[in-house]
Amino acid sequence: MLSRLRAGLRRTRDSLLSGIGRILSGRADSEEVMIDQMEEFLLSADVGVSTSEKLAQKLRTHLREGGAGAGPDLLALMKKEILDVMKRPLAESAPGGRPHVTLVVGVNGSGKTTTVGKLAKYYADRGEKVLIACSDTFRAAAGEQLEVWAKRAGVDIVRQKSGADAASVAYDGAEAGLARAASVVLVDTAGRLHTKVNLMEELKKIRKVLARKIEGSPQEVLLVLDASTGQNALIQAREFGSCMGVTGIALTKLDGTAKGGVVVAIASELDIPVKFLGVGESLEDLVEFDPIEFADALLSEENSPSPLS
C-alpha cells in the first residue's frame, strides 16, 4: 500500500524537486528571496495565491522572531505549516444506522466510478459486505462501466435502465443493502458541474432518499477531485459542501505530474479533510490519505526516489 502511494507520489516529488532544489541551492540569496521562491513553488503546485501567501507570511513571521535561517530550516518549517493545515483530526463519521453508506459526488470525469470500484475492493478486503448502487443513470454506458468494477471487486451491484430516476436507484440500493445485510453501500452518481442548479437539487434528493431509508445515512459524502484541477477545485468543494455537506475528499490521478496542492487550500479554507488518494487505474490503486506522507512527499528534500517504492 505504502509503496503504491510512494510510487504515485514519486513523480510529484520529482517535479517538485527541481523547485525545492533551486531554493536549497539558494547560493547567497537572501531569506526574502528564498521565501518568494518558496511561494512560487507552492503556486506551481496549485496551492493557490491566498494560501501560498498565507503560508509564506507564516515563514516570514518565524524568521522575524529569529527562528530558522538556511534553506533546509525553511523547508522544515514549511512542511510543518502544511502539516498543520492538513492534519485535522478526521471527523468521526456520525453514528448512523447500518449499512454505512458512502455517497460519491463530483464533476464530470473526476474519477468517481473508478474510485467506487477501488473503494469496493478496499472495504471487501477489510471483511465488509459491500453493495454498489449506480445512481449515474445519465452518462452513456455508466452502468456498464460500474458493472465491470463491481465484478472486478467481487461485490453486488444494483442498477436500473439508463435514464431512470437517480434517486430511485439510490433507494433500491439502500433497500437491497438492508435486505442483503450489507455493511457498506457505495452510491455512484453522475458527474455534474456545481453550477448546474437542477443537478445539484438531484443530489439533495438522493441524499434525502437515503436518509429516509437508512437512518443517519449517508454517513459519508465523498467528493472526488482530479488532482490536475486548479483553483476551481476550491469552488467545487465549497459548492458541493454547502449543498451536500461533504465529509471527505478523494484526490485522484496522482500518478501523473499534477501536484494536487489545491487540497491544502481546501483544508485551510473549508476544513474538509482528504481521505483517499487515487494513484492509478487498477483496483488496488487507492490509498488512505496520510498527512505526514503527503507533506513529506510534497516537500521532500531527497534527491532520489524513495527507497520504499
Binding site: 503556486l43 506551481s44 470525469g109 452513456a140 453550477t195 490536475s228 484541477t229
Partner: protein, 440 residues
C-alpha cells in the same frame, strides 16, 4: 466562462480608472493585481509572470499618449497582450484535400474526449461532411459502449474493434472502411492516458504512424491548473499535436489553462466544449475570449448569434441600451421577442456584459415565464410602454384583463421591469448589489 477572472480584472481596472495619472508605482500595483487574477484563474505562474512583465514594458513605453487616460492605456495593452497570447485569429479544422481525413483525439483520463468526439462528428456533419467515429479506447471499462451509444443517438457510424483486435489493428481497418463507404472524416476516440505513461504514449505515436492523421487534437479539461503546461508540452513532444480543445467551460472555471497551453506550445485552441449536450461545441475565438477576460462581454458572439434572427445593428443597439439604461418596456418586449427567436436564452444572456454577474447572483431563466411577461407587455399601450410610471390601478386592471392574467401578475412584471432598469443603471455606475432576479 472567464467570469471570475473578468470580475477580478474589472475591479482592478475600476481602481485604475480612478487614478488621475498613471505613475510607475501605481501601475505596478495594478499589474500585481493582474498577476494575482491570472494566478487565481489557473494561468501557469511563469506564464503569468512573463505576461505581466510584457505588459509593464509595453505600457511604460507608451506613457506619452495624451489622448487616452492612463487606465485606458493599460487596459489596451493588457487586452492586446491577452489576444496575442491566446492566438491572433480563430482556427477551425484545416481543410482536408484527400478524404478520408483522420483526426486523432487525445488527452488525459476524464478530460472529455468521448463527448467531444461525438460533438465534432455532429459539427462536421452540420457542415455537410460525412464523418464516422472509431472507438479506440480499449482501456476504460465500457468506453466503447459509451461512444457507441452517443454516436447512435446522433446517427453517426461508430466503428468498434472486434474481439481481440488491438487499437493498432483496428485503426488502419477503420481508415480502409471509410474510404470504401465514402466517409470523409474519421475521428478516433483514444483512451485517456497520463502524459508520463511511456507505454501508452508510444501506442499513440504508433497509431499516428499507421493512420497518418490529418490533425491531432489535444483535449484539455478547462479546469486544469498549473499542470496544463506539463501535459501540453509532453503531448507536444510525443505527438506534435495540431490544436487543442478546452472542455467543461460551461462551469465557472476561469480557464487560465488556455493561456498556459498557448504560451508553452504555441498551438492554437480550436474548439471549446460547453455542455453535455451534443451540440454544445463552439469554435474558439481568441479575440472574444480576451474581451471577455477584460469584462467587455462577448459582444461579438452576441452579434453573430443574433445575426441569424435579428440584424446585427439592432443587436448592437440593444446592447447599447442595455449598457446605457435608457431601457424602456418597449425595449424589454423587443428584447424578449428577439431572445425567443434566438434560441436558448441561457446561452445568449451569458454573452451580455454584466449578466454573468446576475447569474452568479442567483438568477435563473425560465422560458415559460417569458411568454407570460410578453402577454402582459403586449396588452399595454405604446405610451404605457414608454413611460410605465403612468400605469395606475385602473390601467393595471385593464392590462390584466387584456392579457388574461391577474393584477398581481401585472404588478410583478412592472416591479421586475423597474428592478432591471434600476439594475442597469447601477451596473452603469459600477454598483452591483441586489441582483436578485430577472423575470425570465
Amino acid at each position: 466562462m472567464f467570469d471570475e477572472l473578468t470580475s477580478r480584472l474589472e475591479t482592478v481596472f475600476k481602481k485604475l480608472r480612478g487614478y488621475g495619472k498613471l505613475t510607475e508605482q501605481n501601475m505596478r500595483d495594478s499589474l500585481r493585481e493582474v498577476r494575482r487574477a491570472l494566478l487565481e484563474a489557473d494561468v501557469n505562474y511563469k506564464v503569468a509572470k512573463d505576461f505581466v512583465s510584457r505588459v509593464e514594458e509595453e505600457a511604460l513605453g507608451r506613457e506619452v499618449l495624451k489622448s487616452l487616460t492612463p487606465g485606458q492605456q493599460v487596459i489596451g495593452v493588457v487586452h492586446e497582450e491577452l489576444i496575442r497570447l491566446l492566438g491572433e485569429k480563430a482556427t477551425g479544422l484545416k481543410p482536408s484535400s484527400k478524404p478520408p481525413a483522420v483526426i486523432l483525439i487525445v488527452g488525459l483520463q476524464g478530460s472529455g474526449k468521448t463527448t467531444f468526439t461525438t460533438k465534432l462528428a455532429v459539427h462536421l456533419r452540420r457542415k455537410g461532411a460525412k464523418p464516422m467515429v472509431v472507438a479506440a479506447d480499449l482501456k476504460r471499462p465500457a468506453a466503447i459502449e459509451q461512444l457507441k451509444i452517443l454516436a447512435d443517438s446522433v446517427n453517426v457510424r461508430a466503428l468498434v474493434p472486434e474481439k481481440g483486435e488491438s487499437v493498432l489493428e483496428a485503426g488502419p481497418r477503420a481508415v480502409a472502411e471509410a474510404s470504401e463507404t465514402g466517409h470523409d472524416w474519421v475521428l478516433f476516440d483514444t483512451a485517456g492516458r497520463m502524459h508520463v505513461d511511456e507505454e501508452m504514449m508510444s501506442e499513440l505515436s504508433q497509431l499516428k504512424e499507421l493512420v497518418s492523421p490529418h490533425e491531432i487534437l489535444l483535449v484539455l479539461d478547462g479546469m486544469t491548473g498549473q499542470d496544463a503546461v506539463n501535459v501540453a508540452s509532453a503531448f507536444e513532444k510525443t505527438l506534435d499535436f495540431d490544436g487543442a480543445v478546452l472542455t467543461k467551460l460551461d462551469g465557472d472555471a476561469r480557464g487560465g489553462a488556455a493561456l498556459s497551453l498557448r504560451a508553452v506550445t504555441g498551438k492554437p485552441i480550436k474548439f471549446v466544449s460547453v455542455g453535455e449536450k451534443l451540440d454544445a461545441l463552439e469554435v474558439f475565438h481568441p479575440d472574444r475570449m480576451a474581451s471577455r477576460i477584460l469584462g467587455m462581454g462577448d459582444i461579438v458572439s452576441l452579434v453573430e448569434k443574433a445575426g441569424q434572427a435579428v440584424d446585427a445593428e439592432r443587436a448592437l443597439e440593444m446592447e447599447r441600451k442595455l449598457s446605457e439604461a435608457d431601457f424602456t418596456l418597449e425595449d424589454f418586449l423587443e428584447q424578449l421577442k428577439e431572445v425567443k427567436k434566438m434560441g436558448p436564452i441561457q446561452d445568449l444572456v451569458e454573452m451580455i456584459p454584466g449578466f454573468g454577474k446576475m447569474k452568479r447572483a442567483g438568477l435563473s431563466l425560465d422560458e415559460n415565464a417569458l411568454v407570460r411577461v410578453e402577454a402582459v407587455i403586449n396588452s399595454m399601450t405604446p405610451r404605457e410602454r414608454l413611460n410605465p410610471t403612468i400605469i395606475d390601478g385602473s390601467r393595471r386592471k385593464r392590462i390584466a384583463k387584456g392579457s388574461g392574467s391577474s393584477v398581481q401578475e401585472v404588478n410583478k412584471v412592472l416591479k421586475q421591469f423597474f428592478h432591471i432598469q434600476k439594475l442597469l443603471r447601477q451596473m452603469k455606475r459600477g454598483r452591483r448589489k441586489g441582483l436578485s432576479f430577472l423575470p425570465f
